[in-house]
Each structure stands twice: as structure tokens, then as C-alpha cells.
């Protein structure tokens, strides 16, 4: 990959026009029994951008991902994903839309009775019309992408936490979705394994240009993503030259008490005067 050229001050990819946004939340509210988790949430994810969602435990980060995939229905508000208002869609129509969106769950959520091959190939096998040879080829490709080709016949219980997370990434990207949702992909992992996972996410972002929404507790993961790019020549993640952002489109969103208190890029975040945000990023 060539040295990135865009300066830090350049606007994020795609701008904010509705057609260029892969995900739009408009005044979304969501409660669980008497507990209001999301209170008038509005944001958009432009095509090609990665947005990191922060917030303390229980602030509704994972709920946002589940709403974006139609796994939960909002109490009010609109959610537009790839041009479709998913709050109005029934489950059968959502199954079609979900083929264009990948998700990596917090605890990987691999099917424990299936092998790694079957887990990764699950979506292709469910489609029913993909030839066996094609499935095998694509499974090998994505497992090679996450560097886990040798685990193809193992069961999830035989893998480490980091390997399970990588298999979950492989399962999410096998159909090359237009949007990827990551729910705490590095949660509960040691720093070395976390960096491996972040590198994979950066690789997916820079190689396939997939838009993504990433929930995380670890600010350093998002900072690494904002300050690094994936170099295809060395097949490694490399730091961006100082003061440049290259083709990296990264933004940050912070939730507090069910509301968004920050939505902007790394520079805005660093310059924020909000005491809570300053404490959060310190």
C-alpha cells in the first residue's frame, strides 16, 4: 500500500449526504422495561468510514449494534441501513438485508456444535445455491485472511479466546458485507491478542474499504486504528506519518446516560473541553 496522502484536517469520507451514509440513526429511543437505554440518539455512518462507539458499561453501545442489524426494534425513531428503514421491516425482509451486513459479537457467538469450517461457511451453506468447491475456496480465503487456516476442522471449544474472535471475523466477512459491526472485538483479550485483532480490523478496513461501527471499551484500540494503516506490501499494520490521516476515515462517538455527548474525529476528540470526555480519554 502506498504512503497515505490525505492530511488530518481533511473531511471524513463521503460527507454526510443521505445516499452516502450506510447507517443513519434519527432520534432513536429504546427502553428495557422502565430503563431508558437510548434517549434520542442521532448519528450517521458515511460509506467507507469506521466509527468507534464508546461509553461505560450499560450505556447502550451493544444495543445500537443490535438495532442497526434489526435484532431489536426501537421504541421510536428511524434507523436507515443501506437505504432501508429497518424499524419498519418484518423479520423475513430483514434476513435479506442482513446478508449485506456482518457482525462480530462480543463473545464471538460461534456455533459450538459446528467446526470452524462450518461456522465460517454457515451463511454460504444457508444460501443453498453455492457449490461445495466454491464454499471451500472462500472458507480457505477468509481463514487465511485471519491467519487461521490450520483450525478449519477444530471446534470452537478447542480455540483460544483470540482465535475464536478471529474466526468470528472470518465468518462476518466471508460474504464481503458492505457494513461490519464489531461488538467489543478486543474485550477480555490480552494486549498482544488485542493488537492482532485490531490489525485484522484495520486490514479489513483498508483492503476492502468496508464501513464499520465498532463498540469498544478500549480507547487505545480506536487510537491505533486512527493512527495506523494496513500496508499490503509488508502485510502489516504501519503507523501513519505524523500529521497525516491517509485514507483512514475514523470517527468517534461517545455515549453517556443514553445520549450522544461526542461525535467527531480524533482531532475534535483531543480538543474537547468537556470534563467527562477529558476524563474518559485521559
Amino acid at each position: 500500500m502506498s504512503t497515505p496522502s490525505l492530511p488530518v484536517e481533511a473531511p471524513a469520507a463521503g460527507g454526510t449526504s443521505a445516499s452516502n451514509n450506510v447507517i443513519v440513526f434519527e432520534d432513536v429511543c429504546m427502553s428495557f422495561e422502565d430503563n431508558r437505554v437510548l434517549d434520542g440518539i442521532s448519528f450517521h455512518l458515511p460509506r467507507g468510514e469506521t466509527k468507534a462507539l464508546f461509553g461505560v458499561a450499560g450505556s447502550g453501545k451493544s444495543t445500537i449494534l443490535k438495532l442497526a442489524l434489526g435484532l431489536l426494534k426501537p421504541d421510536s425513531g428511524r434507523i436507515i441501513v443501506l437505504g432501508e428503514d429497518i424499524a419498519q421491516m418484518n423479520e423475513n425482509d430483514l434476513f435479506e438485508l442482513r446478508r449485506r451486513v456482518g457482525i462480530v459479537f462480543q463473545e464471538s457467538a460461534l456455533f459450538d456444535s459446528l467446526t470452524v469450517r462450518e461456522n465460517v461457511a454457515y451463511r454460504l451453506m444457508e444460501e443453498g445455491d453455492v457449490p461445495e468447491a466454491e464454499i471451500e475456496k472462500r472458507v480457505r480465503e477468509v481463514l487465511s485472511f485471519v491467519e487461521l487456516e490450520h483450525t478449519v476442522d477444530l471446534f470452537p471449544s478447542e480455540l483460544s479466546g483470540g482465535m475464536r474472535r478471529r474466526v468470528a471475523i472470518a465468518r462476518a466477512i466471508i460474504t464481503q458485507p458492505e457494513v461490519l459491526l464489531y461488538d467489543s472485538p478486543t474485550g477480555g483479550l490480552d494486549p498482544v491478542t488485542s493488537t492482532t485483532i485490531v490489525e485484522l480490523i484495520v486490514k479489513q478496513r483498508d483492503v476492502y474499504k468496508t464501513s464499520s461501527l465498532m463498540v469498544t471499551h478500549r480507547l487505545q484500540d480506536a487510537y491505533i486504528m486512527a493512527t495506523h494503516y494496513f500496508d499490503r506490501t509488508t502485510n502489516k499494520m504501519q503507523p501513519l506519518p505524523k500529521g497525516e490521516r491517509g485514507e483512514v476515515h475514523m470517527s468517534f462517538l461517545i455515549l453517556r446516560d443514553g445520549k450522544i455527548i461526542f461525535d467527531g474525529d480524533a482531532k475534535d476528540l483531543a480538543a474537547s473541553k468537556d470534563e467527562y470526555i477529558k476524563e474518559y480519554i485521559s
Binding site: N92, R98, A109, E126
Partner: protein, 266 residues
Amino acid sequence: MADGDLTIEFTSPVEFAKKKVASIQEYALLAAQSIANLFRRPLYIADTMQQADLIGFGSLPIVLASVFFTGAALALNSATTLSRFGAETVVGQLVSIGIVRELGPVLAGLVVAGRNASGMASELGSMIVTEQIDAMRALGTDPAKKLVTPRVVATVVMLFFLTILGDFMGLLGGSFVASMLLGLDSHEYWSNAWQTLVYSDVFMGLAKPIVFGFIVATIGCYYGLSTKGGTQGVGRATTEAVVASMILIIAVDVFVTRFLMVVLGS
């Protein structure tokens, strides 16, 4: 224990009733979906066969054993009463009617409920708490279609055949007691047992497992998919599934028996 731990949260009767009605509504919807899914592709035949193996062959020994010993006990008890009237020779008739019409299907249903409703609830409950059901939906699969319908079909079909085999074992248990302990003629026992059965007895005995199988599978799946609260919730769902399916089998048996008696005129 801290003082705060002693606080008990009471639910108002209205809220309680609302929750129960909502649960019945959700169960009815899941049960209806499990049937409707039979007419929608894909059909998940491999999953159905796998469940049939787990439910049918897995339950075979305990169903056969329980109905065999029940048939034996029924023969013993019947003989004691019949001997007062000098009518021990009709033990075969009593065992035959009792097992085929009532005890065979109910016992097979209860055994399958104990073994498989719990298995289904715990398996699906674990999938809920580990987000595997969400993952399935996210990957474009309807969990009701992939997980519930194969279990319902497999349980209904396998319980039907388990009941037939169980009925035979019950009669065999009665025959064993009649010939070995009561000194009755084995040929006479089987002849009486066979000749006393009419079409309506057999129909009733084979209609019930279809209803019971449906109850076991839908209740097991419903409680599994309704699991809340982590591993503790899985345990609770498992227990509730077994209790509910057993109670329902016994209660529904009364209504099905009465309904079939009216329909068949017996």
C-alpha cells in the same frame, strides 16, 4: 446477608396476568410458526433426521423399560382384583386396553418430556445466553425454522413409533407376570389381549402421541428461546420446560381422551 437482600419485589396481579397472557400468546405464535414453517423452504431435513436420532433412539431404552414394568405392575394389580371374582384369565384384556389406550402413550410422552423437553430448553437456552441465536438471525437464518420445526417434526414422528414399541413392551411385561407369576397360559393371555382391542382403542392410543409430541417439542423450545438471566436462567428454563410439558401432557390427555371417545363413539 445484607439488609437490602431481604427486600422482596411483589408484582401486581394485573402485571402478573399480563405477563402470563403475553407468554401464552408467544407460545401460541411459536407453535403456529413451527407448523407453518413446514411449508416454507429450506426444510432442514438433515437437522430433522439428527433430532429424530437424538430423540427417538436416545429415548428408546427408557421408554421400553418404563412401559414394560408398568405393564407388569398393571397385570399384577389387575390379577389381585380379578382373582376375587375368579376372573384372572381376563388379565390380558385389562392390560391390553390400559396400555394401548392410556398408559403407553402417556408414559412414553412423560419419559420423552423428561428427557427431551429439558434437553431442548437447555440447548436453546444456552444458545440464547451465548448470543448464538442472535448470530443465527444476523446470518440470515430464522431460528424458529432451523431449530424449532425440526425438533417438533422429529418428536411427533418418533414419539408415535416409540409408543407403538412401548405398547408392545407393556403387553410383554403383562405377559411375563401372567405366565411366570400368576401361572396363566401365555397363549390365552396374548389371545385375550389381541382380541379385545378394537379400531377405536388403537386409534386413540396412536392419536395421543402426536399431540404429546407436539407439546413436548414446542414447550421445550419455547422455554429455551425465552431464557433470560445467564446460566441460572438456563437451569430455570430447563426445569420449567419439564414441569410444564409433563403437566400439560397429563391435563391434555383428559381432554383428548374425552374428545376421541365422543368422535369415535367409544
